[in-house]
Structure formats: structure tokens, C-alpha cells
Symmetry: C2
Subunit: 367 residues, 2 copies
């Protein structure tokens, strides 16, 4: 293997594929990035066996001699980041010992043979679906935070992607709250899968621009194909709970408020609340809406939401400040509607105008 | 206690005094800030009993009724930071329960009686010395990093301030390296004290502008008086080792180089070195200066310091990359001189022009 390349081109590619690499991988070779230098391109692959990211470089590269090697993700990334040179020259000196040269620096890095790297099948198989990268990124950001952190019910640690009749639903819940995003899709495909949260976060981080993504969905994995990057993730086994009946349709009480002033009031109201439970209370009637919290040890707060508009009988409801905060932030609109069916019933948060995102929060009992 | 105040005026003062407060104080009342509202000023005090910071507010305050209370540093700071109002109204509702009101927010914070707060004597006693705040800040930054992290020799955890014959020497060492800054002072005073590193860091953080500071040095404490802030710190007991004979005066070898290119080369050369020891090697002769490191497991680096100017017999010397890096950064000059007396002898780093700062590093033996 022997090639010269523009440093920034390589750095950009390494930064992407290294996202899949885990330093704690039980298989040592997977802490590295596989360099495959072909006749006309350099293919870089990173994987932790759950998620695999691959990209290739065709331009700004001078290929001198084909070859392959696996280089420590951490060290090669740091070297290419810090080397003070526009171009770098990378070649195998002996066996897997790889030299990286640029300006006045010369690094000799011990590599691993590419033969030890697991064969990862990145074939296009299964159902195909095309969507806008920014739509996918938004759907991930609006749902993934609501997945469960606990491993007791593994299916809840992922986001449920359910496609049918030109509609894709993305649903996440930790059983105390639920986030649902609805997307219209062109393809007439049908599937019901659970994608690990960690994989989705990495995919969302890699999406930078408004391009088209091809998805290939099969039983055990999904392949995302971007302009120059391939990401493949395993799926979570099991069937996702049916959440459709959880979300009420009729509401007796509703509050409308601008998001920023509600977020700021939640922030202040939760300042003195118990850090573990972080419970705050909404007290609403048609004249006044108050947000409050109380801690015997520390003190109490009352926030007067003078800009809220409330319709319905007087209602008091207590819940986690963090959950309401997460829900409003994910909606990312100027104004939100909060809709209630009763004191101990789940309530939902929607954008004032759009209907494609629904956040649901369960209240808590306070004494 | 009852007063109205401009929020930013109070926030600024609280941010300063809270620096002295430790959340882990064994005396619960010291996790709070003491509010002393006098006829014409509000005095705020924070302390962890090692260091005490006090400031007073005379302007932008409307005093309605005198009084005192201790409020949790953490909560009062957060409240004043987050309350969405230009002015805040603070008053005692009942006993030590204190209300903080602003715009649509109302906080009731449980306080502690000021009677429980320890009496801290902030009298001006001992030897007086005046200096520029920015000189003190610079001297702290140039020395404090070289103090010892280990408690086995407590005197080495502080910086030695030694005044005599219109010269103030600030010295720190962890016995593997030494930092020394020399300042000329107007006052003809004489003392030899050790100030805890932690106190110095807080003092340096509070210094924002080029003002004059008054120091009052006594046997057990130093009081620093700024424009509107008083900082008092305890001293470390014991006598500081005499370090004057450690620093050589004659050198057989010298290297001159611009700081930035040396810092960048150190950074790269230490990339592949053992993380614990972080040892790199300088190999110098009059034709070439090389910086290198080697790790059997990871690989090796060679940096050619083409911009270095070396004078002397060929010399190889190994040392901690971190120590040389710290030393050069503290000097903060465009160009440095590195002066050697032999392969296993301490070497010193100086600014190319100034003589008031000396950094010394001990080499290590490599095999």
C-alpha cells in the first residue's frame, strides 16, 4: 500500500468512519480502521460489529501501489489531525508497519493485517426506501431521546421504524413518555423494525447536508447509503409494543404558549426541585397558569406563565420537568399546544401548527 | 433584610465570592454565602475556611431594611443567573426564609441564620506590599502548574513567595521540575511564605483588569485587597526547600527555537509515546535537531526541528513531554532558549529576551 493524499480529504473521511469504532471492542482488530487501497479508490471501514461505516475517496489522492492494512483508529486520526502538512504520504514499510510522512514529521505506526478484519457484508438487500437526509436527522432527534436507558426491555432501547401505506412512523418510549414522528414517504413499502439508539445517533451526526438517502431494510439489518458513505446497523430483535392506543384523541383541557417562555419557566421552576425526581406542577385555570415546585429542604418556586392561554376547567397536574423540557425542545417550534384529558392521564405536546410530531408525557402522583 | 438590586450587579458579586465556597465543606453553613445588609452597602462573604472572598455593593441597590442571612451558594447563584428580570427584590419572609422576586418568578429559599456563620477576621495585619494585579496573575500562571499534586510533602503543594531587597521570587517545584518568576517590587519588605495552589488559582481567576493590589502578609495568612474584593488565604506551614543551588548558571549547549513550532512538534512527538510516562527525546547537533519518541507497541515518531538553532557538542536528552510543554506555554514568548549542562543534568528554559522567568526540567534515563 502506497499513496499520497490531501490531508483534509483523509481527515474528513477518517472522522466519519471512526464514529463506528469502539475503543472497548472485544475484538482488538475492530479498534482499527481498515484501509483498502484499490486501483482507483481508497476504501475506509470502521465497525464495532453493531454498526459499520464505510466511505471511499476517489479524488485528491495519488495511488502508487495497491494494498490493505488496519491502522489504530485513535492514532491514525490524531496523526492526520496534527500533522502540519497539506499532503501526506502513507506507505507500508515492512509487513504491517505503516509510515505516515508529511512536512518535517515521520510516523511509523504498527498496523494489523487486513486478513484479521472480519468480513462485513454491505450488500444492498431487502426493501428499498428513499428519503431526505434532513428528514431522517430530524426524526431521529425528535424521538431517540425518549428511548429507555434500561436494558430490562431491550426493544425499548431502540426506535421503532414502522412503514405502511406511504407513511413512516418513528416511535420511541421508555414507558413514562413517548415520542412519535410521522413522515410521508414515496415508496410503497412495509416493514416494522427497531433500530438501536446508538446507531441512530451516529447516523444523525454524520448527516450534514440535504441529500437523498437510500435505505435497504432487511430482517436483521438496515443499510443507509449516502452520497459517499455507507452505514449499516444491526436491528434489535423482538416485537415493539403497540402504542397506538396510548395516545388520546379527545381533550378537555388545552394550553397554548410560546416555547421559549415555557422552557425558561420550566428551567427556573425545576431549580429548587428534588434533583432525582425533578417534579414540577402546572396549576391552570382560565385566569392564570402557574408552574411551581416545592422541596421541604431547599424551598419553593412559583412561575406565573402570563403568556399562556388556557381553556378548560381548573386543572392541576404534576410531572417530570425533564420530560416536558425534552418534549418541547424536540418539537422546535415557536409555539406549542399542551393537551390534557385529566389529572392523572397522559398529556400530549404538539407544535401549534404541525401535526407530524407528538410527544406524550405521563403525570406523576404528588402528595 | 429587604433590598432591591440590579440583577447583573448581584450576579457579578455572587460569582466572585462563590469561588471560595466548597460544596463539600464539613461545616454546612460554609456551603452558603453570607449576606450582610448594612445601612449603605451589601457585604457578601464566601469561605471554605482555607480561603475567604468578600465583596461589597454600594451602587445599583435600594436598601429597605438592614439584616443578615446565609443563603445556599449554589441555589442563590443559579436563581440570580436564571431569573428573567433587570431588577430583583430580596427580603426575609419569616426567620431565615428568604424571598427572591423578579418579573413573573418568585423563589422562597430556606436560609441559615448568620449567627451560625464563623467569624472570619479580615483585618489588615502584617507586612504591606503593593503590586500590579496583572503581574501577580502572570506570576501565578507561570509557577502554580509546577506545584506537587502529592500530599506527601505539603510544602510542595504551594507556591513559595519570597520577598527581600525589593525583589519578589515566586517558586514552585514538584521535585521533577521547577518554575521561578522574579518580580521587582517597590516596597522594602521581607517575608518567606508558602501560599496554597488552590487559593492562588482562585485569586488569578478573579483578576480581570490591571489594577493595584494591596497584600498584607502575616505568619499564618495573606490578605489580598483589590478595588472591591478582599481575598484572604491561610498559608502552608513549614519551610520551603532552598532551591537556589538547583539552577545552573553556566551552560555548554544551547538551543533557540520559536515557541509555536516547538510546541507543535512536542505535541506530535508525544502522540505515540507511552501515556503514563510520556517521554520524548531531543537529539541535537549543529546540523540537525530531532525530537522523537518510541513505543514498542504503537510505533515511533521523528520530528525534524528545522527551525531550531543549536550550539554545542552533539547531545541526546530524554524528558517528559508534558513538562517541556508546560514550561514553554508558561513563558508565553515568541521564541525560547533551552540551555543544557549535560545528558543527565537538569536543563532550563527561558524566554529569548527576558530573564525574569526560569523553567527547569529534570531529564529521565532511557534504555
Amino acid at each position: 500500500m502506497n499513496f499520497k493524499i490531501k490531508r483534509l480529504e483523509l481527515l474528513n473521511a477518517l472522522a466519519k468512519v471512526s464514529r463506528a469504532v469502539s475503543m472497548k471492542s472485544p475484538l482488538p482488530v475492530l479498534t482499527g480502521i481498515k484501509f483498502d487501497l484499490k486501483e482507483d479508490e481508497l476504501i475506509l471501514t470502521g465497525s464495532d460489529s453493531d454498526i459499520t461505516i464505510q466511505t471511499s475517496i476517489h479524488e485528491n489522492i495519488e495511488i502508487i501501489e495497491k494494498g490493505s492494512v488496519v491502522l489504530s483508529s485513535r492514532y491514525i486520526l490524531e496523526i492526520i489531525k496534527k500533522i502540519d502538512s497539506e499532503d501526506v504520504h502513507i506507505y507500508i514499510v515492512d509487513g504491517t508497519l505503516t509510515r505516515i510522512e508529511g512536512a518535517s514529521s515521520r510516523f511509523d505506526l504498527n498496523g494489523t493485517s487486513y486478513i484479521d478484519y472480519p468480513r462485513i457484508d454491505l450488500n444492498k438487500s431487502g426493501v428499498n426506501l428513499q428519503m431526505k437526509a434532513t428528514d431522517l436527522k430530524e426524526a431521529i432527534e425528535q424521538t431517540s431521546f425518549a428511548t429507555s436507558e434500561k436494558e430490562t426491555r431491550p426493544v425499548l432501547t431502540g426506535v421503532n421504524f414502522k412503514a405502511k401505506d406511504h407513511v413512516l412512523e418513528c416511535i420511541a418510549t421508555d414507558s413514562y413518555r413517548l415520542a412519535k414522528r410521522i413522515l410521508n414517504i414515496d415508496s410503497d413499502v412495509s416493514f416494522n423494525i427497531i433500530i438501536p439508539k446508538k446507531s441512530l445517533i451516529e447516523i444523525s451526526r454524520i448527516i450534514e447536508k440535504d441529500e437523498l438517502i437510500d435505505l435497504y431494510v432487511s430482517d436483521r439489518k438496515v443499510l443507509f447509503i449516502f452520497d459517499s458513505v455507507l452505514i449499516q446497523t444491526r436491528l434489535i430483535d423482538g416485537s415493539y409494543p403497540d402504542t397506538s392506543r396510548l395516545i388520546p384523541n379527545d381533550f378537555d383541557y388545552s394550553m397554548t404558549i410560546d416555547s421559549t417562555s415555557l422552557l425558561n419557566s420550566i428551567d427556573r421552576a425545576s431549580l429548587l426541585s428534588n434533583e432525582q425526581t425533578n417534579i414540577i406542577k402546572l396549576s391552570m385555570n382560565e385566569d392564570q397558569v402557574m408552574l411551581s415546585s416545592y422541596s421541604q429542604e431547599i424551598g419553593s418556586v412559583e412561575e406565573n406563565l402570563s403568556r399562556a392561554f388556557y381553556k378548560g376547567q381548573p386543572l392541576n397536574i404534576s410531572f417530570s420537568a425533564k420530560y416536558l423540557n425534552d418534549a418541547i425542545k424536540s418539537i422546535n417550534g415557536d409555539k406549542v399546544r399542551v393537551l390534557f384529558t385529566g389529572e392523572m392521564k397522559p398529556f400530549i405536546i404538539k407544535d401549534f401548527e404541525k401535526e407530524d410530531i407528538i410527544q406524550l408525557v405521563l403525570p406523576v402522583r404528588t402528595y
